[in-house]
Structures are given as C-alpha cells and as structure tokens.
Symmetry: C2
Subunit: 334 residues, 2 copies
C-alpha cells in the first residue's frame, strides 16, 4: 500500500502542512521534538515524498526546459549532450523540444514549461527577440538562458553566444590572405541575426584588404545541403566567376563541394572552401572540409551552468558569455 503524507500526519498526530514543512526542511513553527518524531515515522514507514508533491511546497521540480530548432540538425546533438550532462550532474532532468523555427510552436513550449513548473528554461530561439518568453517566465520567477541564436535587446537572464562575426572574419581573412578576391558568401536565412553577424565578419575581412564587396556572389541559403548545392549551380550557370567559397554552415559547404564536383571543378585546386560549425560529417567527406569550429558541447555546458546558478540563487559573474571561434584547416583549403 502506498503511504501518503496524510498517513504520516495521522501517525504523528500533526497536520499534513506540518509534515510538508518537515519534508521540505522548513523548520519554522515546528518544534524540534515534533520534527524528529515525524522524521522517525517517515523513515520507519518507508515513505518517499514524490517530486510532484514536494514541488508544491518547495516550488522546485528539478526539471529544465530546453528548446532548440531541430535535434536532427547535426549541430544540436552535441549542444543537447552538453546541457544534459551538466544538468544530470546536478540532479536536473531535461525537457527537450524542437521548434522547427516556428515562433508559435516555440511559444507553445514556453506555456507547457510553465504548466509543468520547470525550474528554468534554455532557449535557442527562432525569433530575433525574446520579450514574450522573458515576460511570461519572469512573472513566474523562472530564469531564462538564451544560447546559440543571438537575440536583440536583453530580454533574458543570461546568454551564451558564439562570436559569429569573428568566426566569419577569420575564415574570410584566411581566404583573402591566400590571395582570393572573388569569395562567394553562402549565408544562412537573412532574417536571422547570426546571418547578419557572419556577413559583417566576411565584409570586414574583405574591406581590410580593400577588396570590393560583390553583391552578386553573396547568396542566401537555409542551412540545408540542397541550398548550398543549388546556389553554386546557379552562380555557375550565370557565368559568375569565383575562386573561393565561405558557407555559413558545413552542410551548405558540402552541398557546394558536390555542385563543383558535378561540373568537374577541383576542390581545393580551383576553388577553396571553408564551412562553419565543424560537425562530424566534415571529417568524413572527401576532401575533408576546412571549417570554423563552434564548440557546441561547451555551449550546452555553459548554458546549463548559467541556468543552474540562476535557479539556485547564486551570482553569475558574467551575464553574457561569448565563446571564441577557431579555424579548423583540412583539405578544402590549400
């Protein structure tokens, strides 16, 4: 038979509220004697307070909500592992949600998190600002950490971003220093802030060397393989000339390689290519992809670290953490 708080209260001849106070370690108004008697009865009866029951009193459920755009996108599994590993170490469980870049779905998850009384939320947002999320979570005292996808303003409690401008800059700068003047830029969706930051980095590197920005070879993809492939085929069909490509993620860079191969253009001899993210696949293709390393696992760990500090009322020394890029040179560059 399952033992309840009511049973313990009856056995100890106290109210259920008193039992709850003892279970949740809030000793005000409970005598030491009563407290010890209740603890003894709990121990002897084998009673296990459920997290749900405890959550009503402590207001803590030891659960965290995480929203990403799509776990099947190869950047996210490592980030999610980073969050889960750190959260698990501190006894938190993780609700995983995929927004598919759909703001309405994202808002629905936030509401579900509130219904489930999560202790905190980590968000890689499909929106460029997070006031909806922040306001509703703040009203419930639930901290919000944003990561990966940059947002405008500061409608969050902490953030972990990657230095996207710098990442694009070091890639473009490498290509510029190799003597390239016609460098295709395959952007992510232009509506995203990270896409603008990466374009900024690309432009900075070119402008530093007084290379004219050619709008005709700045094209927009959607982070999928096919868009990288198609944009390059289109440029070739239009007769546009270029000797290097910088793609804003690895999948599009791989699409670009395949497009060049289909036209018998040699990589890296005729066209050098750099991608972005350093996902696993980039090591397995041929030639192996040179790319900008985004520390996805570390980003997940740092995000969880920030959030758990906030949940536990500890001070965070740095509200905004910026992770630094590194250039991983393999075989698509010389």
């Amino acid at each position: 038979m399952k033992i309840t708080i009511a049973d313990i209260a009856r056995m100890a001849n106290v109210s259920k509220a008193t039992v709850s106070r003892v279970i949740n370690n809030k000793p005000e108004g409970v005598s030491k004697e009563t407290r010890e008697n209740i603890l003894r009865i709990i121990k002897e009866s084998g009673f296990q307070p459920s997290m749900v029951a405890r959550g009503l009193v402590t207001k803590k459920t030891k659960s965290i909500g995480l929203i990403i755009t799509d776990i099947a996108n190869s950047f996210y599994p490592l980030l999610v592992r980073g969050v889960e590993d750190y959260a698990n170490k501190y006894g938190y469980s993780l609700f995983l949600c995929n927004s598919d870049n759909n703001p309405e779905k994202e808002k629905g998850y936030i509401n579900a998190f509130i219904e489930k009384s999560v202790d905190g939320v980590i968000l890689s947002s499909s929106m460029n600002e997070t006031s909806f999320h922040y306001n509703i979570l703040k009203s419930k005292n639930i901290p919000l950490v944003v990561l990966d996808r940059c947002v405008e303003g500061d409608q969050y409690d902490a953030s972990v971003f990657f230095d996207n401008t710098k990442g694009a800059y070091i890639a473009a700068n490498y290509l510029v220093n190799r003597g390239h003047k016609k460098i295709v830029f395959i952007s992510g969706p232009k509506s995203l802030i990270i896409s603008r930051h990466r374009l900024d980095g690309y432009c900075m590197a070119l402008e530093e060397k007084n290379i004219e920005i050619d709008e005709d070879i700045i094209v927009e993809g959607d982070f999928q393989f096919d868009s990288g492939y198609n944009r390059i085929i289109e440029l070739l069909d239009k007769g546009k000339e270029f000797t290097a490509i910088f793609a804003c993620n690895d999948l599009m860079a791989i699409g670009a390689i395949m497009a060049l191969k289909s036209r018998n253009i040699e990589v890296p001899k005729q066209v050098e290519i750099i991608g972005f993210d350093n996902v696993d696949i980039s090591r397995y293709i041929e030639p192996q992809l040179s790319t900008v390393g985004q520390p996805a696992y570390e980003m997940g760990v740092e995000g969880a670290k920030q959030l758990i500090k906030l949940i536990e009322g500890k001070k965070i020394s740095n509200k905004d953490i910026i992770l630094k890029p590194n250039l991983v040179l393999r075989e698509t560059t010389i």
Copy 2:
C-alpha cells in the same frame, strides 16, 4: 498576485478538496450548483491550475521519459524527433536522457522519472533485460515501451524493434548473390542482442549458399568510426583475404572505406561494402555508402504511439511491433 486554490476555496466558501475535484472534473459529492459557482469564480479570477497541482489529483503530469544511449550518435536524433513530434501532438513533453550504455546511469534515470511522476517511459536499453525497470515502473502503474535495442523476455508493456536478423540477411544475401565468398562481418559489441541477431542474418545468407563461415573475418567493433577503420587495417596487416565487407553500422562502414583507401584498395571495384542504419552521412561520403535502412523516425513515432495508448488506457492491437528493413544501394556496391 498569484491566485491559489485556497483563494478560490475561500471565495466559494468550500474546502480546497472540493475546488480540486471540480478542477479535475471529478464531480462525485459536489452539487451542480456548487460546481458551477466554483467554475464561475475560477473564470472570473483568472486562476490557472498548475500541472504540478493538478498532477497530485489526476496523477497525470503529461510528461514522458525517454532514455537513449547517446544523442550524439547519429542514429538517435531522428528517433528522438519521431518520439517528440508524436508526443507533442498529444500534449506530452519529453524528458531526454543519455545513458552512455551505462546500466547504473540508466537505473538512476528510471528513479528520477518516478520521482517526477512521468506518465510513461520509452527506453532504448543498454541492458539485455529490463526486469529492474519494469518492476519498479509497474509498481507505480507507469507503462514501459522498449525500442531499438532488443531485450530478452517480456519485461515491458510494448515494444518497437527493427528486424535486425532480416536486415543483416538482405545485406549479406546481396553480396553473396554478387559472387562474394569472403565477406568481412564487422559486428557491434558482441554483448548486445542486436549484434547476435545481425550475425545470425549474416550466417543464414552464407549458409543458404553453402559458403563456409570464416571466423577469422568476423570481427568486433563498438559502433564508432575508429573501430571500423582499425579492424580493417588489422585484417589487411594479417594478410587476410576478402572481397566484401558488411559493417553493423554506417560509421564503422565509413571507417572501413577510409582504411581501404589508405591502402589504395578501390571501393567498390576491389571491395564492396554495405553498412547499416542509413544515417545522413552515408549520402555525403565518397563513394556514397550502400546500407540497410533503419526507419529511425518511424521507430520513434511508433514507440510514442504505443506508449500514449497505454497511458490513456487504450487497447494496443499489437504489443510487439517489428519494423522491416530495406536495402539502400548506392556507390559502395556495384
């Protein structure tokens, strides 16, 4: 100010228990008049019962626990998406946990799920039998669905497995029919039941054509790239002869391709290769990998479908669902 059940009870001049009964649609012992009065007050006050508070009465939290071995293993993201998509459609949220093939970690997650009063559990187990999980969950009336990793016995409420024997059989049979007699078999960890099933399928195909099973070219990997690479290098160094390879996952198959390339052995001209899983990477490498298709997304969907039926007390027409393999022929076979 946050409105609580106590406030509603005070305003309606009834007990908190009565308010709970009305909120949770359990009308016994509450007059129609009282019920309508309470609902009116709830509506006017803007009171929102939290899922945690509601969970105490309905015993439902609308959350599902999912344990896989590692989200960073490229087979799992699609499976997790399948579970999450289906669960989300029915209003369930998903706790994601990575066991790293560690039985103790797996048990810890099961205990955490019970503390969090999840409504059901989906498990890809690192253990060959699930009596620990089943007994403890059964005692709390929490249904258990196992998927992906086969288990011995029937210590679960429903299962979704892939026909691993058949999958290995069709791959080996294809190679046998192409005239190969020396086919390397790179197994997963031999301790896993799926590894044994795949070996069974391989042996069946060879025995059907009276081809002798050569234990020397049956080797064990760990599902990682490096093990595929190393096993093939070892066989080459020992001077073992073979003309085809069947690897129990795509990562090991890709490792095998790289090993052959490093020795200037041409794929598929000199050695044909078939992998297992059909993960994304298999389309991006060169030559593109022929492989056995495992419908990971569908497995996730079917698992969630089984579990939600069980949670909602509906009949499942088929306790054990077996998903069928298909052979995806690309460029590593002729």
